[in-house]
Symmetry: C2
Subunit: 197 residues, 2 copies
DNA sequence: ATCCATTTCTGAACATCGTTCTAAAATATT
DNA sequence: AATATTTTAGAACGATGTTCAGAAATGGAT
């Protein structure tokens, strides 16, 4: 007793999120417009709004996908001793984000909309921080590994933040990877200095 | 033989730039609209466009002011030995930027528009990097102080980048200042470790 | 068979955005 | 007075996110 669904809801959502990722990669957050999304996903803007509510919710779903991919990428890193593994993680993280500059901008640009982030959001970040903290704890048992992990992540974030918006060359001629490597190296040196003293 | 100027050009430009800073502080880059700027500066959008060309040029002028203020702030820092001076610089930088979150977003959000930045832009950044490098060179003469300065700046930038958009709490419960302090501490420890070895 | 209730979907409409450009305003010169 | 010249005002254009009235498409009731 109703007009039949023209789109399977889950298929539509997947198509919209996929189209959104494409638009983000093409032109960053400004390219993620309702009309372009409608065109690229095959639905009309009204249908998209019926499913997602607003464009920001589409972005959130892209971010969810991105976190999942990031987790898979990290899990696929080959096992290695703490130090080389930490270097590998930092460089893989830089590669991952800089292959997705538009998505990165979607994650970190714009007004903070919600007071509380979705729990999967925080869980993904905490999982990443835990993966950083693990080798640090192995290398320097007397240190607060969780805090050192936060600091190291933030340092690498600084590199990616500048590189993703094309402004790293304002600060350094070195590559993002080289600078991420240096950030890990500095943290490792500091850990050694702390255990020496 | 012409309609007389209704605004002194320099006064108008100053009023527009000042109004732009206010709008940025109120609501970040999205609040910097031509119509709001016209309202706040007392001119019409047409007049503003005649003077600045486009809104991005207004933002550039705000940034110029900001760099000038930042330089003055640093010059006003009390003299101190290298280590405490570096801590003081990092914390003052964090304070400066987080008191100007909207301006910070104007500096670091959005598409990179020009291939080449204005020379005063690069000069301001290089001056800041040199001020960071100076105490590092004093503490660790055998190190490449310029490179260490770049790395330290980028680490502190990571802190400010997250704090300015209200997302630092996703990564750490600590304050921006505490994290900036930790970044300096880590770099100083690494320098000591390097000179030990 | 016809009509209707119900749900899904479309796209026109609204306010706002950056930007452009026409024309009004205001003077100096002829 | 008329005109040329420059400055200013603000309407207009195409775009944006979002809403919403109605078209479309069915199953059930008559």
């Amino acid at each position: 007793m109703a007009r039949p669904r023209q789109y399977d809801p889950e298929t539509l959502r997947a198509a919209v999120v996929s189209a959104a990722r494409g638009l983000l990669e093409e032109g960053g957050p400004p390219a993620l417009t309702a009309r372009a999304l409608a065109q690229a996903s095959g639905a009309t803007s009204g249908t998209i709004y019926a499913s997602f509510g607003d464009l920001h919710s589409v972005l959130i779903e892209v971010n969810r996908d991105t976190f999942r991919e990031l987790g898979e990428m990290i899990d696929a890193l080959p096992d290695a001793p703490p130090e080389p593994w930490l270097y590998a993680l930092a460089e893989a993280y830089v590669d991952f984000m800089l292959e997705r500059k538009g998505v990165w901008r979607g994650l970190f640009e714009g007004d903070r909309v919600t007071d509380v982030f979705p729990q999967w959001y925080m869980a993904a970040i905490n999982a990443l921080l835990a993966k950083i903290a693990h080798p640090i704890a192995a290398l320097a048992p007397s240190e607060n590994a969780a805090e050192r992990a936060e600091e190291l992540f933030i340092s690498v974030h600084g590199v990616v933040a500048l590189a993703a918006i094309g402004r790293l060359d304002m600060v350094s001629p070195r590559s993002p990877k080289a600078l991420a490597h240096a950030a890990v190296n500095t943290m490792l040196s500091a850990l050694k200095e702390a255990s020496d003293a």
